[in-house]
């Protein structure tokens, strides 16, 4: 079980969501979601596949628009700001995709430089190289700098994906299924990396997962998304100290069967 991070500031909210609703055609995915993420906190969002976990973080990053509700990220309502303001806000949000989403046609170095050279056009070659080396060092993959994404393992791709988001020094990290499809040892490495990112870069993070080992290792707080709403919230033990069969089934599948 993770020890609570000492850097959490419960007086400041990085993200605040109220009454969020989102539907696709006739299918209601999110039915009034309320959520707060505090500065410096790792919040794990648990839930079955198709319950709208990824939709939630795509709305936070402005990739999807909400149907109803209030989504405030670092003091700005994402669906009400101009595209320019949204781009500025996005520089403060790191998004680690489920399949890493590395650019296949670019080397690791080019992948890492891509967001940097487009958003900080005054940087010198030396400064860019230093930043690339720093984030590669942070994810422990300095040797992979000239490799193509196709030459990397699943775990390495995840690490590079995280490094690419860290290069812009985000205040918020959004992890979409960070341990999906990885072996248990690599999962532990990724969990450690998520905690290391929180400690070293002082980020506030939302980690989307259905892996309870990951949730227990990285979450300062857990929120369980069931039927389009958050039903249980608290520490890992508090969330599963319930009679709710849906939550219990989740726990039993991960730790007993």
């Amino acid at each position: 079980m993770k020890k609570a991070s000492p850097n959490i500031d419960y007086n400041q909210k990085a993200i605040s969501i109220k009454g969020l609703q989102k539907s696709f055609d006739e299918f209601d995915v999110l039915k009034g979601v309320d959520l707060d993420l505090y500065k410096g906190e790792n919040l794990v969002v648990l839930g079955r596949s198709g319950t709208g976990k990824s939709v939630l973080i795509k709305i936070i990053s402005g990739l999807l628009k909400p149907d109803e509700g209030y989504v405030n990220v670092l003091g700005q309502e994402v669906d009400k700001i101009s595209p320019k303001e949204l781009d500025k806000l996005r520089l403060k949000i790191g998004f680690s995709f489920q399949n890493s989403a590395l650019y296949d046609s670019m080397t690791v170095r080019e992948n890492l430089e891509f967001p940097l050279v487009r958003n900080s056009r005054n940087l010198t070659r030396k400064e860019i190289d230093n930043l690339v080396e720093t984030v590669l060092d942070a994810v422990g993959l300095s040797q992979a700098i000239n490799q193509m994404p196709s030459e990397l393992s699943g775990g390495q791709r995840k690490r590079i994906g995280i490094a690419r988001t860290l290069i812009l020094r985000p205040e918020i990290m959004l992890y979409d299924e960070p341990t999906a499809g990885l072996d248990p040892i690599t999962c532990i490495d990724i969990n450690n990396l998520i905690n290391e990112v929180q400690r070293r870069f002082n980020t506030s993070s939302i980690i989307i997962t259905h892996d309870l080992t990951c949730a227990r290792a990285v979450g300062d707080r857990i929120a369980m998304l069931l039927d389009g709403q958050f039903q249980h919230e608290g520490t890992f033990d508090e969330v599963f100290a319930t009679d709710d069969e849906r939550a219990q089934a989740f726990y039993n599948y991960n730790f007993i069967d």
Binding site: S61, L63, R90, L91, F97, N99, A101, L102, D104, F114
Partner: protein, 259 residues
């Protein structure tokens, strides 16, 4: 029930038409606004132009030989084989070169753009660009459409050259016409309007091929099946539109000639 199905299909058609309109209109807005992705435009020009050269050279040369060979019997019936250089040049410059270049690049470049953007879409690479505050439309679509729009006319000029050379090889072999005599007849037969109209057509073909490939890839559905469909429909749609445009261009050019 039947009425409901028809209305739903009509709805989808209009939504799709609106989406196409928005996608194309966005190009004309984004192309003039900074930041300009010069490096990516150059990369794409290399991909579309330089990498297509061997295929274009081979195909153009063969077409020149075959067209000359197939035209000879008809002309020889009237004892007019000496008109072959003029016939070849008019046919190649006015119709064959623009069409052949467009069809080959639609197959090679259009499908590759559709597949590349389709796979970027389904593996969330386009979303990754967007969340890192990079405009994916500008980086991916504008650069590719500009590359096809400017490279296909250049490739078309190259096709004219190699096809005429192919024609020369065949004419020289059968009629012993000299190189100089052949090309004097070739250039006598064509006018400025012929070259200009073919260049103008090629710009339109290039824009169409790039835009169709990007649209199909950018809007491909989830999964690897969607990538295959995007690549396939990029080629089919682009070729279909190229032929329609050729037909329209023919009417316009004929009207200009008649003036």
């Amino acid at each position: 029930m039947r009425k409901y199905v028809v209305t739903r299909r009509l709805d989808r058609l209009f939504i799709e038409l609106y989406r196409i309109y928005n996608f194309v209109a966005r190009f004309f807005k984004e192309v003039f606004l900074p930041p300009y992705e010069f490096k990516e435009i150059m990369n794409q020009c290399y991909e579309v132009g330089v990498r297509s050269l061997p295929l274009i050279a081979l195909t153009g040369f063969i077409i020149g030989i075959v067209f000359t060979n197939q035209s000879r019997p008809s002309l020889s019936e009237f004892g007019a084989t000496s008109w072959l250089p003029a016939l070849i040049s008019i046919a190649i410059v006015r119709a064959l070169a623009p069409l052949v270049t467009a069809i080959i690049t639609a197959g090679r470049v259009g499908s590759s753009i559709g597949a590349e953007l389709g796979s970027m879409k389904v593996t969330e690479q386009i979303d990754a660009m967007e969340v890192s505050a990079t405009n994916p439309y500008k980086f991916l679509v504008v650069s590719r459409v500009l590359a096809t729009t400017f490279m296909i006319p250049s490739l078309m000029m190259f096709t004219i050259l190699v096809s005429l050379l192919g024609g020369y090889v065949n004419v020289h072999q059968n009629e012993q016409t000299s190189f100089t005599s052949y090309f004097v007849q070739v250039f006598d037969a064509i006018t400025f309007l012929d070259i200009f109209s073919s260049l103008a057509k090629s710009f339109v073909f290039g824009f169409t091929i790039g835009m169709v490939g990007c649209y199909k890839g950018y809007h491909s559905s989830k999964g690897t099946e969607g990538v295959g469909k995007a690549a396939n429909s990029s080629v089919v749609t682009a070729m279909f539109l190229v032929f329609i445009e050729e037909l329209l261009a023919l009417q316009i050019i004929n009207a200009i000639r008649a003036m």
